[in-house]
Structures are given as C-alpha cells and as structure tokens.
C-alpha cells in the first residue's frame, strides 16, 4: 500500500547455506530489499499452508543485494520447530515473508567513530549497519561475543568491514575468553568511539548501555522480544521505555523498536509494568495534562 511500509511477499529461496552453527537463507524479495534500512527485520511464516505454528518468526536482515532485482539474506540458528523447518528449506521453495519491519538504526550525520557490539545471532543486524556507516565515512569497530567459536558470527566479514574486530567467547575457543562486555570498554577507549550500536540478549544490552553511560556516549540497542505480529497490532512485544517527555510507556518492540536509545530502556523493569508508567495501576492520579497521552506507544 505504501512505498515505505512493509510488504507481504511469497519469495523464492535462492540459497540455503550452513555457516558454522548458523543457517543463512537468501530469498528473492525485491520490494523488501528496496525498502530496507539497516536495523530492520523480516518475519517469516513457518511450517507451510497447514502449519500448526500460527505465528511468524522474526529475523534480522543480514544482507541485501541487487541480484535478481533484490535479494535479502537472514541468518539463524535452530532453536525450536520453526527454525528447524526453515533449516530444511531448499532453493526454489517459496517463503511467505513480511518486511522490512521495525524502526531502523538512526545514522549519525557526521563521520564519527562507531563501535558495533553484537552477541550471538544478534550480530547479524550489525553488518548492513557497518556498511551504511562506512558509506558515511564513519569509523567502525566490531566487538562480537558468542558462547563458542562456532557461534561467532562472520568473523572474516567483520574484520573486513571494520577498523578493528574484537571477538570474545565464553569458553575461550575463539578470541578472548569472557563476555563481550568485558572487552567493550577497552575498544571504546582505543577507538575513541563516539557512539555504540548493540544487538543481543537483554542482559547484554543492559550492560552495554551501562558501559556507554560510563563513557558518556550514546548507545542504540536493538532488542529481540518475542513477537506475535511484528506489525504493531497485537501489543505482545512491549517493554518499558522512557519517552522524550520523561514519561515511561509500554512501547512495542516491533514498531516503536526494535531499535531504542539504550538509556531510554528501563532494563531493570522489563517484565513488569513500572508503577510510574503511563496507564499503570494507580497511574491516573499523577496525570493531568491532556496532550501527554497522545504520544503514548499504542
């Protein structure tokens, strides 16, 4: 309907590749490719026409290419039945895809120094971001963390795309032993980073945000909440986020995010309705102004 919004397509699978612990699927989806901005994701129907799996599975867009009018690649590890089904796709199969979805990463106007921190499959979303940033003349440094060597994401690409690439694994099987957040501070210092971009599990994002705070630099986090619709209609993916007006709202990760300013996300209150959130039980007493509510999340 719109030239900017997401589209729904039946896209043929071009290739399915195995990359260490991950699968990479490339689909032909010109309309998605053309609209894509880094940080956005797609959602894929799984299990075929008579699937018992009602919900789509969201995946970060890892790469878009101009081939065949526009291809889109996403990477995933097999986690449950949906990803198991995806891993069995072959080329020429059709996938029912909706995208691109979500708010993209905001890009800096000036050629600043950017550190990109990705945990596990959360790194996927940072590769197209690195490209966009470099096109704007930004310096890019990667910090990539994973449980083990086979879960480290595209090490070679990361090295190629960035000024430096630092790797951490929990078991020390690749790069530094330890967590991504153990290494991040040093990278920020060495690279004189001006901004952090991060994607990964919620506890990691919280720590990354804290570290950025220590260095007084802004941080953009991309969250991976469970999503029923991905299009903003179901309200299942909410987290408490502080608005520009200082008011906390239950914001939808799928359309108000998945990218948020790290400082705005109330990490400690995720899984709760903070007492001071707009519309929380007992909230009524505090409000007064009429205009306030107008900007709430949904």
């Amino acid at each position: 309907m719109s030239d900017f919004g997401p589209v729904q397509t039946r896209s043929p699978v071009l290739t399915v590749r195995r990359v260490d612990a991950y699968y990479a699927i490339t689909i032909v989806a010109p309309q998605v490719a053309e609209r894509f901005r880094s940080g956005q994701f797609i959602s894929v129907a799984v299990g075929g026409d008579q699937s018992s799996m009602l919900l789509r599975r969201p995946f970060a867009i890892h790469d878009v290419k101009p081939d065949y009018g526009g291809t889109v690649e996403f990477l995933f590890s097999v986690r449950g039945q949906g990803t198991a089904w995806l891993a069995e796709r072959r080329s020429r199969d059709l996938l029912d895809v909706v995208g691109p979805l979500g708010r993209p990463f905001p890009l800096p106007r000036d050629p600043v120094n950017c550190v990109l921190a990705g945990g596990g499959s959360g790194s996927a979303v940072l590769f197209p971001l690195a490209q966009s940033l470099r096109r704007r003349g930004c310096r890019v440094d990667f910090v990539i963390g994973a449980a083990s060597a086979d879960r480290v994401f595209s090490a070679i690409t990361a090295r190629r795309a960035a000024a430096t690439a630092t790797f951490t694994t929990d078991d020390g099987s690749f790069g530094l032993r330890g967590r991504l957040t153990d290494a991040l501070g040093q990278v920020i210092e060495d690279a004189r980073s001006d901004v952090v971009y991060a994607c990964g599990p919620m506890p990691m994002l919280r720590e990354v945000t804290a570290i950025a705070g220590v260095y007084g630099i802004p941080v953009q986090v991309s969250v991976e909440e469970a999503m029923a619709c991905g299009t903003g209609i179901c309200m299942s993916c909410v987290i408490p986020v502080v608005g520009e007006d200082g008011i906390t709202r239950m914001a939808r990760s799928c359309v108000d995010g998945p990218v948020f300013r790290g400082e705005r996300v109330r990490f400690d209150d995720i899984g709760t309705i903070p007492f001071d959130a707009l519309g929380a039980p007992g909230w009524k007493a505090q409000s007064g102004e009429g205009g306030v509510a107008d900007r709430e999340a949904g």
């Binding site: 729904q8 799996m53 029912d96 029923a228 309200m235 509510a293 709430e296 949904g298």
Partner: protein, 315 residues
C-alpha cells in the same frame, strides 16, 4: 456474477461481512499498510477504556498448536486519544468503525458510551464483557448474566439509538445461552462471539507459565470448532438476533462455516498477526466460494446449517 455481500447488523448495513476483530487490528493504521482498510466490512477497535491503560506485564503471549495464548490486559491510550486520533484517522481512510468498549464497572461503561455516542464516525458499539469485575474478585462481567445485563442496559441507554450495540460474549461462562438471553433482554441489538478461551501454556524449558500472570486467552484456528458451536447454539435459541462470529477464522471456508452456523458477519482475529492481509484475502475467498455455489446474496447462507436438517451424509 459476484454475489451481493452486504450484510445487516441491526440498524446498520455493512458492505461485506468480513470485519477485523477487536485487539487484532491495532488502530487500523498498521493493517492499512497492507490493504485498503475501506475494503473490509468494518474495523472493530481495540477495546477502549476511559483512561490510558498500561496493560499486563510481559511476556504476554505464547504460541500453542494452531493458536496462541495471550494476556495483553487492554493496553491502550484511553478514550480521549482514541476519539482525537484513531477514530478520525479511520474515518479519513473511509474505514467503518465498530468501537469496542471496556470498563471496570457499570459507571465506566456508561460514561464511555456517552463519550463515544457523541463522536462522529461510530457505526456500532461492541461491549467487551470479558473484563475483570473488581467487585467480584476479578471474575469477568460475562460470568454473571445479571451483571452483564446491567452493563448492556447502561451502554444501550447511553448510546444514540441509530447506533447498534452488540454484546461480546466469552465461551467459558456458566451458561452461554442464558447470558445471551440476558443481554438480548437488556436490549443488545446483537451479539459478538466468541472472545478468547481461558487457557495456559507452560514453557517446557523453565516449567513456568509462559505468560505473566499464568492464565491467558486462547485464540486462533484451534478454537474455531468451539466458536462455531457457540454461534450455532445461540442462533438456535435466538434466531432473530444478529451475530458477529469469530474465533480462528483463517480462510473463506472458515467464514462460511460461521455464516452457516448463524453469524451475519465474521471477525478475523489472531490470523491478522500471521497474515496481515488476511481480511481481504478471506473476503475474496468467501466471495469465490459463494459464487461457486451459485449464491447470489451472502444473506442466503446465514444460518444454513440449521435449515438443511441434520448432519452431512457420510461421503
């Protein structure tokens, strides 16, 4: 020839019988990215409350076989924002709005009815009776037919008379037919059914309830036979009361099932999550199915399952 799809719901006639269900269509804007919102019968709005409402803590949903369990807790901006922002937007796009209302007592429903009835662009009002009644340990209003009737009466008598008021029923009530009867006696112009079915999923990894607060509502194709049964039984008891049928509508054939059971329209709920263009697809499939069987007006198939006597013959 394409069949006449118009359907009548009390005093209102809709262009076609495919609606987007409450809470499953956002404000209409989100679905409008995928199709022209004016093409479907109507959009039933997320249930509106008087004040902003933050809803329930996350996690709010889990997938189940052919369905999902959810507990959103009526998150929403409150009636003021709704009337200032969402309703005018729907009107501007030629969408027709069925406004769903939710409250915590008769007084709130009454006040909501007054506010909404005065606004422009309200085609119908749907009363969400599956709201916790603070005066009854959080049991739903729908659990108590007398309480439900009081709410229906309050909304009906505070709504402009040309706006039909439908009561939305849940299946898991002590006596559905009695509840429907109480609503009709309280002058509901029609019934919407069904709301989601109480249920729970437990995360097999953590062994804890997958949705915060434990219980949630089961929706999606899984509940369709339950929903069709409810529509059939209530239509048997009140053949003249129009029904908006819902619960797992995924295809035109599913819509036809509800119409045959006695619904005059259907609403598409959770399937909008998995297929954002579902409403228009279902409308097209329904049109094709009717054309194929040579039906010239959709109204002809409403209640068909009651007229054809007995079950289908064994193949």
């Amino acid at each position: 020839m394409s069949p006449d799809m118009r359907t009548r719901l009390g005093r209102v006639e809709l262009d076609n019988p495919v609606l987007a269900a409450s809470g499953c269509a956002g404000s209409g804007r989100e679905l409008a990215q995928f199709f022209d919102i004016a093409r479907i019968g109507a959009v039933v709005t997320k249930s509106v409350m008087l004040e902003p409402h933050a809803g329930r803590p996350a996690p709010r949903m889990a997938e189940t076989p052919s369905g999902m369990v959810s507990a959103i807790g009526l998150q929403g901006p409150g009636v003021e924002v709704f009337l200032q922002r969402d309703l005018p937007w729907l009107m501007s796009r030629g969408g027709r709005a069925v406004v769903s209302v939710a409250g915590s007592g008769v007084a709130e429903y009454q006040e909501l009815a007054r506010r909404i009835s005065g606004a422009e662009g309200v085609e119908m009002v749907e009363i969400n009776l599956s709201c916790p009644n603070p005066a009854a340990q959080g049991r739903h209003f729908a659990d108590d037919a007398a309480e439900a009737a009081r709410i229906v009466h309050a909304v009906r008598s505070n709504t402009r008379s040309d706006i039909p008021v439908f009561a939305k029923l849940a299946p898991d009530v002590p006596d559905l037919t009695a509840l429907a009867g109480a609503c009709v006696e309280a002058h509901a112009d029609g019934l919407s059914m069904i709301n989601s079915v109480r249920g729970m999923a437990i995360d097999p990894r953590t062994l804890r309830p997958a949705v915060a607060g434990g219980m949630g509502g089961v929706s999606g194709p899984a509940i369709r036979p339950i929903a069709v049964g409810c529509v059939y039984e209530v239509h048997t008891a009140f053949p003249d009361v129009p029904i908006i049928g819902m619960g797992g509508v995924r295809t035109g054939a599913d819509a036809l099932e509800f119409l045959a059971a006695g619904a005059s329209a259907v609403a598409v709920g959770s399937v909008n999550f998995s297929d954002p263009s579902a409403c228009v697809r279902i409308l097209r499939e329904l049109e094709e199915a009717l054309a194929e069987r040579g039906v010239s007006r959709v109204a002809e198939v409403v209640g068909a399952a009651h007229r054809n006597g007995g079950a289908a013959p064994n193949r």
